[in-house]
Amino acid sequence: MSRHSQNGPIYEVEGLVIDLYTPTVSVRAVDGAGFYVAPGETLAIVGESGSGKTVMTLGPLGLLPEGVAVDLRGTARADGKDILSMSPTDLSRLRGGFFGVIFQDPMSALNPMLKIGPQLAEQARRFAGLSATEARKEAVSLLARSGIPDPEDRYDRYPHELSGGMLQRAMIALALAARPRVLIADEPTTALDATVQAQILALIRQIQKEDGIAVILITHDIGAVSVLADRVAVLYAGQVAEEGSAIDVLTAPVHPYTRGLLASVPDFRSDNATGTKEIPGIPPNQAQLEPGCRFADRCELVQPQCRTHRPPLVKVGAGSVPHRVACPVVIAAEGIVTHD
């Protein structure tokens, strides 16, 4: 794969629509959303359960819930190649070698019947093209790099012999074994305790810096976003509400949903905290979507046109990282300068 561009996107999704069908319901999980990530940067895709963040990121790679029929439209390019028209074999090869995925539950990635080390070595042989001896060495060094003490010993351990934090590290080592260009971390710290969460976030950041790979963090945890992300895309009911640099989105949010989400997260280091605010109501039922802004029913600023017209993503501010917001009401009310 050619590194034809250091700064252009390495994984890019546009105008994605994903409908999921079970025998009884159909749900529009992703509704015309997109994102991009460049080598050396971390993109956080933020949303609550059901916002479509995981389906949007993993869906184009063919990683979708089992037992559900899928209709997927739009474009998705990895290293400039259209991945939606790829054969299943090519896509599978790409998933293994180009993308590494860290899941919330390490046991969904590790085989409980096999020792940890050989699982890593197999990945390194298949996707990074190493010999058996090289692969073993690589596996041990990956374990060490992932912060696992005594990696020679851990190589021959089974997953159940490791603690939760160590398993999470082993899964990160597994995701790195194929030397991926894009590391996707799907709620990597949700199941972990606070002190172990901090360790794992520090590890992901260190790997990202050392290898200069692209990282996509899928999460609902604003704290994790604040630690890791360069850019943020906020997803609500399958649509991007706001995107931009982490500093713009987290410290100067514009969309009422982003503002509400951030206000509901208290910051105990700040003394002028005004208390935990709440967003009234619950996200819309994605089986019966109305036209217009998805957030309209929960929005304090709602106007009649919000219920009839889908708000476009509009560039606000003149920062080097585009800050886009899908809310003409706030933009007009606060006189925010647009740049489209």
């Binding site: 002190t195 901090a198 360790q199 704290g223 994790a224 509400g260 509901s264 997260v265």
Partner: protein, 328 residues
């Protein structure tokens, strides 16, 4: 929060809960003294395996204690529950982490809320219906949920129903085991605010087991930090969070990221090595000694007792008097 608490709502002394398992004895709670003031909103925090859920269950008797006593509202809990089961249930209620698992899936919300009133013979059918309507109002649920089954409700709505059910008999003490963990961020804020409002409105004493420290700091009046079955530190929530004396509390608070990336980029962090040890095999001396960044030889030999510290609470650390605050 009442001005002058007349008596403590909960007093636990020397509480131990040990489990015999195939792999050995698990000391889930291993000698805990806990005092919850009347009208307090008391948070219990710590990581998995620290015993916080077992402690909450042992307080109300859902889990029998291996050793120690619990007094609730001035009465011995086990005597009270044995001699006057219904009276105890009216005064003290428990809220579970998973509301779905704690409700009958075949009962409508209306039936779920009316059941405790029926069991305790409260009013006639008409009065009970009025009370159910009042309860829905209290937790801000619309009357339209009355005929619905739990599984057709959202997570936040289910937790509201389980709170309404716990309030049906107007208890004085509410013990909640991680009632927020299963909820989305924006819904979590709704339920936190609901607890705070109910506490003020009804003068309840609330004990809440939680792992979201920022929320505990926001709503709780008092906090207990647990580590491996013991109390590491306790005090007034805001004072303890501002000036934690125990190195574990310091690390735990340091591990919580700020939602502001500008603070996050420059803030010094304490990163602990490794995971907490297993409660099957706690280390000798101070239980935190295996991960403590400022450990001294005596820490590995003698277990420190809780002692008064600067923020007005107490910490179980040999070094708590020394100036180790500069770490954060």
């Amino acid at each position: 929060m009442t001005d002058a608490p007349m008596t403590d709502a909960i007093v636990a002394k020397g509480l131990k809960v040990h489990f015999q398992t195939a792999a050995g004895l698990v000391r889930a709670v291993d000698g805990v003294d806990l005092t919850v003031a009347q009208g307090a909103f008391h948070g219990i925090v710590g990581e998995s395996g620290c015993g916080k859920t077992t402690l909450a269950r042992a307080l109300i008797g859902l889990q029998s204690a291996t050793e120690g006593q619990v007094q609730i509202l001035g009465r011995d809990r086990s005597d009270w529950a044995r001699s006057d089961r219904k009276g105890f249930a009216r005064a003290v209620q428990f809220i579970f982490q998973d509301p779905l698992g704690s409700m009958s899936r075949r009962q409508t919300v209306g039936q779920t809320l009316e059941e405790p009133l029926q069991i305790h013979g409260v009013g006639d059918a008409k009065a009970r219906r009025a009370r159910v309507a009042e309860l829905l109002d209290l937790v801000a649920l619309p009357a339209t949920v009355l005929d619905r089954l739990p599984r057709s409700l959202s997570g936040g709505q289910r937790q509201r129903v389980s709170i309404a059910r716990a309030l049906a008999l107007s208890p004085q003490v509410l013990i909640c085991d991680e009632p927020l963990s299963a909820l989305d961020v924006s819904v979590r804020a709704q339920i936190v605010n609901l607890f705070a409002r109910l506490q003020a409105q009804l003068g309840l004493t609330i004990v809440i087991v939680a792992h979201d420290l920022a929320i505990v700091r926001e709503v709780c009046s008092a906090v207990t930090v647990m580590y491996l079955g013991r109390v590491a530190e306790e005090g007034v929530a805001k004072s303890l969070f501002a000036d934690p004396a125990h190195p574990y509390s310091q690390a735990l608070l340091s591990a919580v990221p700020s939602p502001d990336p500008r603070i996050e980029a420059t803030r010094p962090r304490i990163l602990l090595a490794g995971d907490p040890p297993s409660p099957r095999n706690p280390p000798p001396g101070c239980r935190f000694s295996t991960r403590c960044p400022v450990v001294e030889p005596r820490c590995r030999e003698t277990e420190p007792a809780l002692r008064a510290v600067q923020h007005g609470g107490a910490a179980a650390c040999h070094l708590a008097d020394a100036n180790i605050h500069a770490m954060i």
